[in-house]
Amino acid sequence: MKAMSTGLLRALLAAAFIVVLWQAVVSLTGAPHFILPGPVRVAQTFWTSRDLIFENALVTWAQIVIGLLLGALFGIYTAISLAISPASRVMMRPFIVFAQAIPVFALAPVITLWLGYGMASKIVVVVLMIYFPVASAFFDGLMRTPQGSLDLAQTMNARPLYTMFRLRVPHALPALASGLRLAAVAAPMGSVIGEWVGASQGLGHLMLLANGRAQTDLMFAALLALAVFTVLLYFIVDLFGRWLTQRYGEPAA
């Protein structure tokens, strides 16, 4: 608890430092507010446009959370099926690597073309973005079960499926945690990329709109809503990851 409150204090200090720096740059360069609005102006816009921002933020946040959950589930499923069957490793791996080799940025327009301007296309972009880190981290974990434990299971006449779910999966949960952390950071990016390509709502959409009208302060305010959510999401996922590591790994003495 103490560690957490010092962590929070440090985060607040860092935020305060950035705001001060930001204000300093604005004051020193005398940049016009449509190029770089100051923190006070952004805060004001955030407050006056709070309904607009919140309305769009809800859409983006929902896309991020749904995409994160679906992508993590697909990733976990893929990792387990790859680990279970060497045949599927041989057959599926090239596809997965190929899919990863195409930048999601390049795929987003096609996905939007197919799935429309609604939330579905953004969720798919998020899923594509985080699927690989989750699958790859968890798969690595599954393949790193200590040989001694596998030998022990063999002398115990373990059934392969039980060895998987009662030995290899728990052993790999700390590795899954690091995949999920990467995913938590990548998911908001996916959602915004999807919205930039084409959307009728969402924070990314709002930012494009504000940019077009030279409402830089509104753009920053929307960015703030996204950043706060991303940090919060990472914090929650990190907490969950720590719990997984504590519960399933060997905690340091």
Partner: protein, 241 residues
């Protein structure tokens, strides 16, 4: 537990073309402890893994058979230097790992009784990282006992423990594994001298019988005959005249 069989291994092993050990014959008499002493890298663990039916990376040509003619698979329990406890399971969960991995319901009353036997009654609900090295090895022993196999293969099971804990563990294991056919792979002459009914020295040239006292195991650490046997083993291990 089914009656403990005698096991005979006969054959040779090569590792990527080079001989690992030459043609040899190792007999594990029924219900006895057989000590296999030797320096690191002479293939002691390979022999143990061959009997356990595990991958060795070596090519073995020969036979491994029990004297009752039945296959060995399913009659062997294994315990190594590393306790291999699952960090997310408590002592009870680790002891009953075997049935869990076979999809059976563990007999918890028996698990509790065995945990009590190895002296971990007060630690049943603790996870491994909260236990000392000796307690962890007791939990591993309890897991081995819970499998209730007539053949037990021990691969340097106590070598990571401090001297006092090691002596204690040797006594507990010797007592609780009595009546089973046990192969004890070790590089510690003292351990071989205390625990073995029969002992062999393994080297590049094969197996050489070692003298052990005729007294029952587990022999006291300070027993004169045991210490003399240990000294003789040291000389042979170091190839002194």
């Amino acid at each position: 537990m089914t009656p403990a069989p005698a096991i005979v291994l006969r054959g040779r092993a090569d590792i990527s073309g080079a001989p690992l050990f030459p043609e040899l014959r190792l007999e594990l008499p029924a219900g006895c402890w057989t000590g296999l002493l030797g320096a690191s890298g002479v293939g002691k663990s390979t022999i143990l893994r061959l009997i356990a039916g595990l991958d060795t990376g070596a090519r073995f040509s020969g036979t491994i058979a029990a004297n009752d003619g039945a296959p060995l698979a399913g009659r062997i329990a294994f315990m190594g230097q590393s306790d291999l406890l699952a960090p997310w399971l408590d002592v009870l969960g680790n002891v009953s790992l075997g049935p869990m991995l076979r999809g059976e319901t563990p007999d918890l009353a028996r698990a509790y009784a065995i945990i009590d036997q190895v002296g971990l009654k007060r630690h049943v609900r603790q996870r491994p990282h909260t236990l000392s090295g000796g307690q962890r090895q007791r939990a591993a022993l309890a897991r081995t006992l819970f499998e209730d196999r007539p053949v037990v293969l021990l691969d340097e099971p106590f070598s990571a423990l401090d001297a006092r804990t090691r002596a204690e563990m040797q006594e507990i294991a010797g007592r609780l594994l009595a009546g089973r056919t046990v192969l004890l792979v070790t590089h510690d002459p003292g351990e071989a001298a205390r625990l073995s009914h029969h002992a062999w020295l393994m080297s590049e040239s094969g197996l050489q019988a070692l003298e052990v006292p005729a007294t029952p195991v587990v022999r006291p650490v300070d027993d004169a005959a045991t210490m003399a046997a240990q000294a003789a083993m040291y000389r042979k291990l170091r190839r002194l005249p």
